[in-house]
């Protein structure tokens, strides 16, 4: 799973040289091995490295504050979202919905790596939401829809139908 994400991320960043990946342990933690003898372990660590390699540092945040916010959501992804027990899913959605109430993207007004990795990680949850739940977590749905339509991001994941008109209408109440 993580390997498909990293391959999608490489494509969306326009990276040409394919890196070699393997996984480690029961949790299948990704490991990157490149020709220069570099070895890196961990999804967030590798994703951050790929963005730097693609020379798109704005995706990691444009200020010290924003960089910390981006890394915080990468951490949230690999700690909270990836091990989220079923009974915790609603809390995650509720908190994220509250957080996104006044934001377009996770780190504010511009798209960052945090959006890509949170989108990859939460896809399996959003894909199972009933229409009413998508309405209940309206800010999550709106953000999710933005990200899945962001150029070059979706790749390996099937699109999730979000009734856009209703959300945009309700967002302007």
């Amino acid at each position: 799973m993580a390997l498909r994400e990293l391959s999608s991320l490489e494509k969306s960043l326009g990276l040409k040289k394919a890196n070699k990946y393997s996984t480690q342990g029961d949790r299948k933690v990704p490991v990157l091995q490149n020709n220069n003898g570099l070895s890196l372990t961990g999804l967030a660590t590798i994703a951050t490295h790929l963005v730097r390699e693609a020379k798109q540092p704005e995706l990691l945040g444009v200020s010290a504050e924003q960089r910390a916010v981006v890394q915080q959501w990468l951490e949230y992804r690999v700690t909270k979202l990836d091990n989220c027990p079923k009974e915790e899913v609603k809390t995650v959605l509720k908190d994220l919905n509250q957080y996104l109430e006044d934001k377009v993207y996770l780190a504010g007004n511009n798209f960052t790596l945090a959006d890509t990795l949170m989108y990859y990680g939460i896809h399996r949850i959003v894909v199972d939401l009933a229409v009413q739940e998508k309405e209940k977590y309206v800010n999550v749905s709106r953000w999710f829809d933005h990200v899945q339509h962001y150029p070059g991001v979706r790749h390996h994941l099937p699109p999730v139908v979000i009734l856009r008109n209703r959300f945009y209408a309700s967002a302007h109440h």
Binding site: G25, D26, R27, V29, L38, L40, T41, G42, L43, A44, T45, T48, H49, A64, E65, R67, A68, V69, Q71, Q72, E75, Y76, V78, T79, T91, K94, D95, Q98, Y99, E101, G108
Partner: protein, 214 residues
């Protein structure tokens, strides 16, 4: 900028040590464990940092990253890798070990649980041959790991085998400006026992995974 911390919470040790080391200017507010500081989170989450832009950082490691960033130190690949290891591999085992050692009085079992991550740390430090985790200068990962392991490694009764590299590294970080001071603020010189109030309020940690061979 306002930093919210609470006594006896091991995660607060990370951010206080980083703040003291970097010399960050921010108001430190001591609140109780139950205080909900971050408006968008349903559960009380400490430490937290209210940024000048109005956003909150609500994980200790991102707060430490931010403090290092303000002094011009962006986290390197290697430092990021240690931070991710700490978050995903060490913390689940550490939560279990603290629970056993402090609330169940099973110090030996706690030491046993920590054997895997500590021997990984020992061999990584040995292979690299530097004073700190990533180089001869301290990085954000040093502060985070030092603080995470402090309750155990500063305890004279803690025995998890000979760990010469870990001991040497731990001592180097302890000598950095402000680190021991931060430890005193959080633990009040009472060691592991200072954490019991905090740990009683935490959910019982799930049993550790068995895949930590490393």
């Amino acid at each position: 900028m306002k930093l919210f911390v609470t006594e006896g919470n091991p995660h607060c040790l990370k951010v206080l040590a980083a703040a003291e080391l970097i010399g960050v200017k921010c108001d430190v507010s001591h609140v109780n464990h139950e205080e909900r500081v971050v408006p968008h989170l349903s559960r009380p989450t400490l430490p937290a940092l209210l940024l000048p832009c109005g956003l909150h950082l609500f994980t200790p490691n991102s707060i430490c990253r931010y403090f290092f960033e303000t002094s011009g130190h962006e986290s390197s690949n290697l430092s990021n890798q240690w931070l991710e290891w700490e978050e995903t591999e060490l913390q689940p085992i550490l939560a279990q070990a603290l629970y056993m050692a402090v609330l169940q009085g099973k110090g030996a079992e706690a030491a046993q649980a920590l054997r895997g991550p500590l021997s990984f740390l020992e061999s990584s430090l040995g292979n690299r041959g530097c004073r700190f985790l990533t180089s001869d200068e301290e990085a954000v990962a040093d502060i985070v790991l030092w603080a995470a392991l402090y309750p155990f490694l500063s305890d004279p009764d803690f025995t998890a085998g000979a760990l010469p590299q870990v001991r040497r590294w731990f001592q180097s970080v302890s000598l950095l400006d402000g680190c021991e001071n931060a430890a005193y603020t959080v633990l009040k010189g009472e060691g592991l026992n200072a954490l019991s109030g905090f740990l009683q309020k935490q959910p019982v940690p799930p049993s550790p995974r068995r895949d930590t061979k490393n």
